[in-house]
Amino acid sequence: MVDREFKKVITCIECPVGCRLNVKYKNKKITQIDGNQCKKGNKFAETELIDPRRILTTTITIKSVIIKRLPVRSNIPAPKGKILEMAREVKKIKINPPVKMGDIIVKNFLDSGVDIISSASIDE
């Protein structure tokens, strides 16, 4: 491998501003970054290059009088490459109330290192 420097434009997704980050990198290490309006941009660009991650949000079946689907999320951002598979598998889960916001539905889901937790509290 030659130590070539690459350029990439990344849109930061940390907040609604959505800074366009101009990133130069060598061997997956950032050599220069500009365009970000805050420090979050630096960190985002770093993980986006090495290990891109996203919060997974989807729903599972719940037997409730109020709603038919319970909103759930990954407690921390999950590996981007695993999101579609996780979304497909998490759909199969069925639970009964009561459930509280933050309750863990599945720990270390599909060995991804992230937990699936409830986004809402449903009493009945």
């Binding site: 849109t11 366009r20 996203r54 709603i67 916001m101 986004s119 509290s121």
Partner: protein, 422 residues
């Protein structure tokens, strides 16, 4: 049978983020007699169906999902003495602040209040609003409706999806339906730019290789019982379809994300003056409408892009209602705010000039290196980027209005222009 008091200090119509914030703020100020009314069977408004994350960065300093953001307020309300009426709809409001409501227990009942906060939310523009020609099969749905079907009621709308409109709801639904295993063939936008947030284009479209076509629109719809295909054409500079560019795309579902309209039917029943630009009521800096003692917040005031702003407006509406209860009158505002170059609308439309103020400005077109300016009072602020997708907040100190008030002038004009200097 629930026993409802009929004379409330503050009656709030709408239990979404605006209404919930208003109720909690009023309670915190010490107002005892509060009623919060909601049409749905749970509080939260549209938040429970917005299951994606990205809410609350401004207020909670972290990214929450819609249901989580709502739950924080719901839990506080349930722990308080605020009275809630769920599954209850307000049919009319008169200018003596009587509200006609109906639900299963009450039948039809008139409730009276000393002050009212309208937090009524918004509606989606439909196929009729943009006059899409063609047959009338099933499978043409608005994006927010589908969001509710999928995320709360557990129905999927179809298998092959085309989305018209690249506002945030359209983008979010493109990802959502992809995660549900449906095939999203593309997002089509009539404008030369997307009004959605840049981060949503990245994480909703780019992440899943969903193409975005700018300057395109739907020019025909095919199918008898169920949608079978749509005709897509490019548009010219005047947004007119160029039919020779048309191509037919098979799909069984067309999602429309073509804009939101302030819910204002109730405003008409009590003669509140509307702003034809924002689609909501004309308000002063305290969010009071043209009827004294009736305040507005949330998406029925103007279409918000961040829930945090709605919460802040809910707080403000409650503080204003509380001071109306104390003083028996609202503030006097004599300075009209006129939207100038490249501005769709400004909230508030009237101010007193005696208080520091944050103007909420909706730009018309995207501008890089913009200047936001109020010539009459010498306010001039540079902004790197402005655009219709993000509300522009302009803070102005009350001192700036001193000379204007002395001169007796009764309006100022706000402009957004391109900074050509240097």
């Amino acid at each position: 049978m629930i026993n409802y008091k009929d004379n409330y200090d503050i009656l709030i119509i709408g239990g979404g983020p605006g209404g919930m914030a208003a109720a909690l703020k009023a309670h915190e100020i010490g107002i005892k007699n509060i009623l919060l009314m909601e049409r749905d069977n749970q509080l939260g408004g549209i938040l429970p169906q917005c299951i994606h994350s990205g809410f609350g960065l401004k207020i909670f300093k972290k990214q929450l999902t819609g249901p989580e953001y709502a739950q924080i307020f719901m839990d506080k309300i349930h722990d308080s003495s605020i009275k809630i009426m769920l599954s209850t709809i307000a049919l009319a409001v008169d200018n003596n602040k009587n509200v006609t409501v109906t639900n299963k227990e009450l039948g039809i009942r008139k409730l009276s209040a000393k002050t009212i906060i309208l937090s009524l939310g918004c509606r989606e523009r439909t196929r009729g609003a943009i006059s899409i020609p063609g047959s009338r099969p099933s499978g043409i749905l608005t994006a927010g409706l589908v969001q509710r079907m999928v995320n709360i009621e557990g129905y999927l709308p179809g298998k092959e999806i085309v989305i018209l409109g690249s506002g945030d709801i359209g983008l979010i639904m493109a990802r959502r339906l992809t995660l549900e295993g449906l095939r999203v063939k593309g997002v089509y936008e009539v404008m030369p730019f997307s009004t959605g947030l840049p981060r949503n284009i990245t994480q909703c479209l780019d992440d899943y290789d969903i193409p975005l076509y700018l300057n395109h629109t739907v020019t025909n719809v095919y199918g008898r019982k169920r949608l079978e295909a749509v005709r897509i054409s490019k548009v010219d500079r005047n947004l007119k379809p160029v039919l020779s560019t048309g191509k037919t795309i098979t799909c069984d579902t067309l999602l429309l994300s073509v804009g939101l309209i302030c819910e204002n039917e109730l405003l008409k029943t009590c003669g509140i003056e509307l702003d034809h630009r924002s689609g909501g009521p004309i308000v002063d800096e305290s969010l009071q409408t043209s009827v004294a003692g009736i305040f507005a917040c949330g998406n029925s005031l103007y279409i918000n892009d961040l829930v945090d702003n709605v919460t802040e407006d809910g707080d403000l509406a409650a503080e204003s209602a509380a001071s109306y209860l104390r003083d028996g009158k609202g503030i006097e505002s004599s300075i009209n705010i006129v939207p100038g170059d490249n501005i769709s609308y400004i909230i508030p439309q009237k101010i007193s000039g005696k208080k520091d103020i944050t103007f909420r400005i909706r730009p018309k077109f995207p501008v890089k290196n913009a200047i936001v300016e109020i010539l009459e009072i010498g306010v001039r602020e540079k902004k790197k980027v402005v655009g219709p997708g993000e509300l522009l907040l302009l803070k102005v100190k009350s001192d700036c209005f001193k000379d204007l008030i002395i001169s007796g002038r009764n309006f100022v004009k706000i402009n957004i222009t391109k900074n050509n200097g240097r």
